[in-house]
C-alpha cells in the first residue's frame, strides 16, 4: 500500500512539479547566482525602491486620502511657479555705484519650479554645444599638443562640490579678482553673473566634459570606412558630418546630455554656495528649497508636503529621462554591427585661419573651465580681494587641527566612504557578474535596478529615508539593529548614510565590472566549468583575477564620489558629531578660506583617484560616465 502511494506521487511530481518546487529547482541549479540576485534585489528594493515609492505616494496620498490641494497651491504660489517673472526677474540690469557701472546679468527668476527646469535645459544645451564641438575637433582635426590638450580637458572632472562656486566667486564675483582689479580700475565697469546665469555658467564648465568624453569615445570607436565610403560617393565634409558622423555618435550624445540634464537639476552644491554668498535666486531652486525645508515645522518630524511634491517632480524628470535614453540607446546601438575596423581616422590638417580660431577656442575654453580650480587654490591661500596676493597656509592648518574639529570631519568622511566602497566592491562585482553572465528572466530589470541609482536625485532618496526610517516613519521594520545602530537618521545617521552611499555610487563599479567582462571571453569561464569548477570557484579563480583592475578602478571612482557626496549627506546629517567634509563645507559657506582649503584637499584626493583609475582602465572613460 505504502509502496504504491509513493510511486504514484513520484509519477505525479515528475509530470508536473508544483510552482514552489519549480522555483526551488531553479534556485538549486545555481544557488550562488540566485542568492546574489535575491539579496541584491531585496537590498535595492528596501533601500532604493521603497523610499522613493513612499515619496511618490505621499505626494498625492496624504493621511488616508488622495489630496491634490498642495500641488495646486504650489502652482498658484509665485515663489514656486511664476512664469511671468516678477520684479526680481530681469535678464540684465545696470547699477551705478559711485564711478563704476555694474552690469548684473541674472537671466530670469520664474519661481523655484521653472528656475530648476531652466537650469536643466540651458546647462544641457550649452554643455552639448561645447562638448560636441570639442569632441569633433579633438577627434577629426590635427592639432599640435593633442595629448596635453586631452589631459587638460579632463581637469574639469576633478571638481569637488562647492569648489566651483567658491572659485567662480574668487575670480568673477563682485569682489573677485577680475572685477576688482581689472574691469573696475581699467574700464570703470563690473560684470557680475548672478542667479541662474551664474549657476548655469558654473555647471556648464563642469558638465561639458561628460558630453565631450561620451561623444569623443563614440567618434573614435566607429569604423572609419563609414565616413570614407560617403566621401567616396561624393559627399562634402559637411554632408558626411550631417548624414554619417553625427547620427552614428547619437547614442553617446544622447546619453551624455540626459546625464547632464539630471545632474544639473539635482545639483545642490552650486545653489548652496551662491546662496551663502547672498544670491537670492540661488535660493529659489528645487534642491535648495528641499534641503532647507525638510520638515513641516521646527517642532514636528513630519516632512514638509511642498518638499515631497517638488522632490517627486525631480524624481519623475530623472526616471523618465533615464528610461527614455535607455530605450533610445538600445535602439541605436550600432557599434557592434560593423565587422572590425579598417585603418585609422584621417584627420584634417587645419589651415592658418582655422589654427588661429582653434587656438582662441581652446584658450577661452580652458581658461574658463579651469577658473574654479585656479580660484579655489588662490582663495585657500589668500584673500582674493587683496592684490598682490598675500599667500599663507593658515587655512590648511584648520584642516588637520584636531582641536578645531576638522579632524573629526576628515575621519567621518573616510569611515563612511571606505566602508561603503568596501561593500560596493564585493556586491557590485557579484551583481555585475550575474547580470552579465547569467541568463534569467528579469535580467534587464535586474540590470536596471543596479544602474538606475546614477539617475536618482540624492536629495529625494534622502527625504525618502527620513520618511521611512525617521521618527514618524511608516516603515520602521528592522529600524533598530542594536541600540546604537539604528536606521533612524535623526538619532544616528551613520548607518543609513553608508547604505545610501552604497546604493548611489553602486553603478560606477558595476559599469566598470561590465566593461571588464565584455573584454573577457566567456570561454575562459566555460573551460573552468568543464573541468568541474563551481560558480564560486570560477568567480574567485578566473573572473576576479581577469577583471581585478576594473573592479579596483570602478571602486576608486565610487570612493571619489562617496567622499564628495552632498545631497543625501546634507539631508540625513543633523548633528555635527556625525558631519562629513561636505557637510562642514555647507555649514561654513561664509568662510571662504576654510572652505577653499577643504576643497583643495578633496580636489587632490579626487585627482589621485581618477588618475589611478585612468591608468588602470586605460581610458575606458565611458565606464565612468555612461548611463
Amino acid at each position: 500500500m505504502t509502496e504504491q502511494k509513493l510511486t504514484t506521487e513520484t509519477v505525479v511530481t515528475r509530470a508536473k512539479p508544483t510552482f514552489l518546487k519549480r522555483i526551488w529547482f531553479t534556485f538549486k541549479s545555481d544557488r550562488l547566482s540566485w542568492s546574489i540576485i535575491i539579496f541584491i534585489t531585496a537590498f535595492f528594493g528596501y533601500f532604493l525602491i521603497a523610499p522613493l515609492a513612499s515619496i511618490l505616494v505621499t505626494a498625492v496620498y496624504v493621511k488616508g486620502e488622495f489630496a491634490f490641494d498642495t500641488i495646486g497651491a504650489i502652482f498658484s504660489n509665485p515663489l514656486f511657479f511664476n512664469p511671468s517673472g516678477g520684479e526680481e526677474s530681469y535678464f540684465i540690469r545696470l547699477d551705478h555705484r559711485q564711478d563704476v557701472d555694474v552690469y548684473m546679468i541674472r537671466g530670469a527668476n520664474l519661481g523655484i519650479f521653472l528656475n530648476t527646469l531652466l537650469i536643466g535645459v540651458f546647462t544641457t544645451f550649452l554643455s552639448l554645444v561645447i562638448g560636441v564641438t570639442t569632441a569633433l575637433i579633438m577627434a577629426r582635426i590635427e592639432i599640435r599638443g593633442k595629448t596635453i590638450l586631452g589631459g587638460l580637458l579632463l581637469i574639469p572632472l576633478v571638481l569637488p562640490p562647492f569648489v566651483s562656486g567658491v572659485g567662480f566667486m574668487a575670480l568673477f564675483g563682485d569682489k573677485g579678482l577680475i572685477n576688482e582689479h581689472f574691469l573696475a580700475p581699467v574700464f570703470g565697469i563690473k560684470i557680475i553673473l548672478e542667479g541662474i546665469v551664474a549657476i548655469i555658467f558654473v555647471q556648464v564648465m563642469h558638465y561639458f566634459t561628460l558630453i565631450y568624453l561620451n561623444v569623443y569615445s563614440s567618434l573614435m570607436n566607429n569604423d572609419p570606412s563609414l565616413e570614407e565610403s560617403a566621401e567616396n560617393l561624393g559627399a562634402s565634409k559637411l554632408r558626411v558630418l550631417r548624414t554619417v558622423t553625427l547620427p552614428l555618435a547619437m547614442p553617446g550624445i544622447a546619453s551624455g546630455s540626459i546625464l547632464v540634464f539630471i545632474l544639473a537639476m539635482e545639483d545642490l552644491g552650486t545653489p548652496i554656495i551662491f546662496a551663502g554668498f547672498g544670491d537670492v535666486v540661488a535660493k529659489q531652486t528645487i534642491t535648495y528649497y528641499i534641503a532647507k525645508h525638510i520638515f513641516a515645522g521646527s517642532e514636528t518630524s513630519d516632512l514638509a508636503q511642498e518638499s515631497i511634491i517638488l522632490g517627486s517632480f525631480l524624481l519623475i524628470f530623472a526616471i523618465v529621462g533615464f528610461f527614455a535614453i535607455r530605450k533610445f540607446v538600445s535602439l541605436k546601438q550600432y557599434s557592434m554591427v560593423s565587422k572590425g575596423r579598417a585603418g585609422e581616422y584621417r584627420t584634417i590638417k587645419p589651415g592658418i585661419m582655422l589654427q588661429i580660431g582653434l587656438a582662441i577656442y581652446f584658450f577661452v575654453l580652458l581658461v574658463t573651465a579651469l577658473v574654479p580650480h585656479i580660484g579655489v587654490i588662490i582663495a585657500s591661500m589668500a584673500e582674493p580681494q587683496v592684490f598682490p596676493l598675500d599667500l599663507s597656509f593658515e587655512n590648511y592648518r584648520y584642516l588637520f587641527d584636531a582641536d578645531k574639529g576638522f579632524g573629526l570631519f576628515v575621519k567621518n568622511t573616510l569611515i563612511y566612504s571606505l566602508i561603503s566602497t568596501a561593500v560596493i566592491m564585493v556586491l557590485a562585482t557579484l551583481a555585475g557578474y550575474v547580470a552579465n553572465r547569467k541568463k534569467f528572466k528579469g535580467q534587464t530589470a535586474f540590470d536596471t535596478l543596479v544602474t538606475i541609482p546614477i539617475a536618482i536625485p540624492g536629495i529625494v532618496l534622502g527625504i525618502g529615508y527620513i520618511r521611512m526610517f525617521g521618527d514618524s516613519g511608516s516603515l520602521t521594520i528592522g529600524g533598530t539593529v542594536f541600540r546604537e545602530w539604528t536606521l533612524n537618521p535623526i538619532i544616528f545617521p551613520g548607518l543609513i548614510l553608508v547604505i545610501s552611499y552604497t546604493i548611489r555610487k553602486f553603478p560606477f563599479t558595476v559599469r566598470a565590472v561590465y566593461a571588464g567582462l565584455q573584454q573577457t571571453d566567456v570561454v575562459m569561464e566555460e573551460a573552468a566549468v568543464n573541468m568541474g569548477a563551481s560558480r564560486i570557484r570560477i568567480i574567485a579563480e578566473v573572473v576576479i583575477p581577469l577583471i581585478g583592475l576594473n573592479i579596483i578602478g570602478g571602486a576608486l571612482v565610487s570612493l571619489v564620489y562617496n567622499m564628495s557626496e552632498v545631497s543625501t549627506t546634507l539631508v540625513l546629517i543633523s548633528s555635527s558629531k556625525y558631519g562629513t567634509l561636505t557637510w562642514k563645507m555647507s555649514e561654513a559657506s561664509g568662510k571662504v578660506g576654510e572652505l577653499a582649503a577643504i576643497g583643495v584637499f578633496l580636489m587632490v584626493l579626487q585627482a589621485i583617484s581618477l588618475l589611478t583609475t585612468n591608468l588602470l582602465l586605460k581610458n575606458r572613460a565611458d565606464a565612468i560616465t555612461g548611463i
Binding site: 565610403s229 567616396n232 560617393l233 561624393g234 559627399a235 550600432y334 579598417a342
Partner: protein, 113 residues
C-alpha cells in the same frame, strides 16, 4: 575612354615606407588585380587612388588630369571597402541611394525600382 596612370608613387606613414616607387598604367576597360602578402601596400595604393591617403611623392593621373591632390568627394572613383562599410543607422534603400542622391540621380533610379 579612361586611363589611370600611377607615376613614381611613394607613401610614407611616419618613418614607415609603405609604398615605394610604384608605376602602373591601367588601360581603358582593363581589369587589374593587385596581389601580395599582407602589409605590402595593396590597400595603400587603392586608398591613394580614392584620395584617402596623401602620397608623399608621385602622381596619380586619370587620362591626363592630375588628381593627386584632389579631395576624395570630387573624384569620380568608385570604391568598395574591405569591410563593406554599410551604415548601420540607415535602411538598405538609403544605403543604396546615398551616392545617387548626392549626384541628384535618386529620383530617376527610384522610378526604375
Amino acid at each position: 575612354m579612361v586611363e589611370v596612370t600611377i607615376e613614381n608613387l611613394n607613401i610614407m606613414y611616419g618613418d614607415f615606407h609603405a609604398v615605394k616607387d610604384v608605376n602602373l598604367k591601367i588601360k581603358d576597360s582593363e581589369i587589374v588585380t593587385l596581389l601580395g602578402p599582407s602589409g605590402c601596400g595593396k590597400t595603400s595604393i587603392l586608398r591613394s587612388l580614392a584620395g584617402f591617403v596623401e602620397p608623399s611623392s608621385g602622381h596619380i593621373l586619370v587620362d591626363d588630369e592630375d588628381i593627386t591632390h584632389q579631395p576624395p568627394q570630387e573624384r569620380d572613383m568608385g570604391m568598395i571597402f574591405q569591410n563593406y562599410a554599410l551604415w548601420p543607422h540607415m535602411s538598405i534603400m538609403s544605403n543604396v541611394i546615398y551616392g545617387l542622391k548626392i549626384r541628384k540621380n535618386a529620383l530617376r533610379v527610384m522610378k526604375i525600382f
